[in-house]
Symmetry: C2
Subunit: 388 residues, 2 copies
Amino acid sequence: MRIESVDLFYLSMPEVLDIGDGSQDALLVRVRAGEWTGWGECEAAPLPSIASLICPMSHSACKPVAASVVGQTLEGPEDIRRIGDLVRAESLDLLQADHTLSGIDMAMWDLWGKREGAPVWSLLGYRQAYPKLPYASMLFGDTPEETFAKARGCTFRAAKFGWGPIGKGTAEEDAAHFRAAREGLGPDKTLLVDIGTVWGEDVERAALALPALEECGAVWLEEPFVSGALASYAELARRSGKVKMAAGEGSHNIYMARQMVDHAGIGFLQIDAGRIGGLTVAKQAADYASARGVTYVNHTFTSHLALSASLAPFAGLERDEICEYPVEPKALALAITSDQLTPGADGLLRVPEGPGLGVTVAIDGVRPYLVDCEIRVRGRVLYATPEL
Amino acid sequence: MRIESVDLFYLSMPEVLDIGDGSQDALLVRVRAGEWTGWGECEAAPLPSIASLICPMSHSACKPVAASVVGQTLEGPEDIRRIGDLVRAESLDLLQADHTLSGIDMAMWDLWGKREGAPVWSLLGYRQAYPKLPYASMLFGDTPEETFAKARGCTFRAAKFGWGPIGKGTAEEDAAHFRAAREGLGPDKTLLVDIGTVWGEDVERAALALPALEECGAVWLEEPFVSGALASYAELARRSGKVKMAAGEGSHNIYMARQMVDHAGIGFLQIDAGRIGGLTVAKQAADYASARGVTYVNHTFTSHLALSASLAPFAGLERDEICEYPVEPKALALAITSDQLTPGADGLLRVPEGPGLGVTVAIDGVRPYLVDCEIRVRGRVLYATPEL
């Protein structure tokens, strides 16, 4: 069969706030081939991604993403990999293309899984999906008291606090938040901390946080630096004792993920399947990390479609147990699927066993969030929000 | 003064061909502050870049580029650097943003240079601009005979051949092109070869090209691999004898450039100021390479506005003499400026000494190539081609 259409749907909350909450909008992807439909989600700015799908060609290595996908033969996983390679070659100079491809790749795997009646993780090569230990992914409170209250209310066995005021004031202010989180969680739960890149590449500033993090038993320090600052990561890792470095969510191709593993001294490689080029590339990253003793973790802050997809690349890695679980999603993120992935009584999360990504996109639930867009070039409509 | 407006203009030839010629369209940037106007150019897919300038915010680290530029104070180079940092932080998750920022950064330097009555290279910290040895940057012919004819007609002291059929067939076919280029150039001219990333990360395939390249006295082998394949570059560099590796044009931030220098074993770092984040970041890359014995080279395939801008970051590096010079630009690329940079009788290219980027944008020349675009979200026009 052939890929007949690739449709992008820009979804958004009525109001988007200036906070570090990536669940306020979404870019849903629908791929159709033969009688089958697959769904995916880009973790990307919707409008630039839509433009990258349909823009006019600039030259032979700067084509719109759709040019390398629509009309292609889809008869199995090898075709999904081939189409991804084609997009990377023919849209080499279109920077946004990796983000756009990510959701398309996901949707192709979902479609093929449905056709085969098999979960995507099995198509990726795993015989078994192991349960994961989800951590509640939350923003720091504006004050240590708020952080304490959030931690206190956490019902998960692990929690990650990030963004908000952290890293922007003094090391003492940060330490007060770390201690509030630990006190709120109690002594037994896993504590993870996310700086959201605010220290740029400043190793000395980051090092000031280490004593309080170690005192609070933080398992990882996430993104003290921007993605590419490999030397800063490596230097801090040499000084961080029991606190391991976690990073990689900014990776938009396999090379960036490998470089984190090879040169940044990280203990945890965090990959967003909605950015790195989809499940195909995320699985390559998981294989690469796993072979080198680095733990793979999903990065997911949005819907349960994205959550299911993000678990597939490391579903079969028993040792890589911890997984990110968004606990403060906006209503939009929950509306995207009619089924939700919830931890069991043992606190563990099961990767869906159903065909494809194992979740159902809720067309009627999504419709109220659909943002109507139109792009015209030389008077011709190149994109108008498709029928959902 | 404050930045009052940032306008993007999508320019294109009437017909864009499926060839490796990046001069078929362009994205021109105009920045206005006080009574001053600056111009820049993104080496980027125009429509996705336009979308990245004006898209609605997704969250606190995924804002449209304009949000971090328009309204900002511009009172000197420190403000230009500060605005770039702000874009990188506030548009962290908007992948296309680095390409869009590149032209804006250029335009801010041009504007400030005009206000100060000083060339941009002097504002970047150089006391003197040294003449460069331009190489004619050309596509390989479809046949070795065509390549020979192109080389024969070359009036420059150095020439680079790239793209076209190269690397896509056998090593023998490639070697025939290399020999044709050398024969056409004669024994004394500098020969450079560009593979345009077609070998992905396949070191063994690339190694097959080395004997013919060495026999033909090629100074560099450019982009045998995709930008991120650092380990493949390093491995090939260990085996390539006198032929040095050249790469880096895909770098869209300082970290990627540094990683090429630190881990890829390259002899030449090629930076496109229209992609890496503008002149601010290109200058950082030049400083970094220079301190580590790697030669900086511009990557330029478009207009003489882009050419002048791309020379500024290494204008003062006397030792880094060679520079890329597009010799087959489409009419559009030449129409962008009313003045052209041409080599002198000695074959050397002088970096403009005039204020700003030292070239004049030809409004009337550009107008016929202007592509009318409109982007509507929720019925509101977020972008309509501005008045030129």
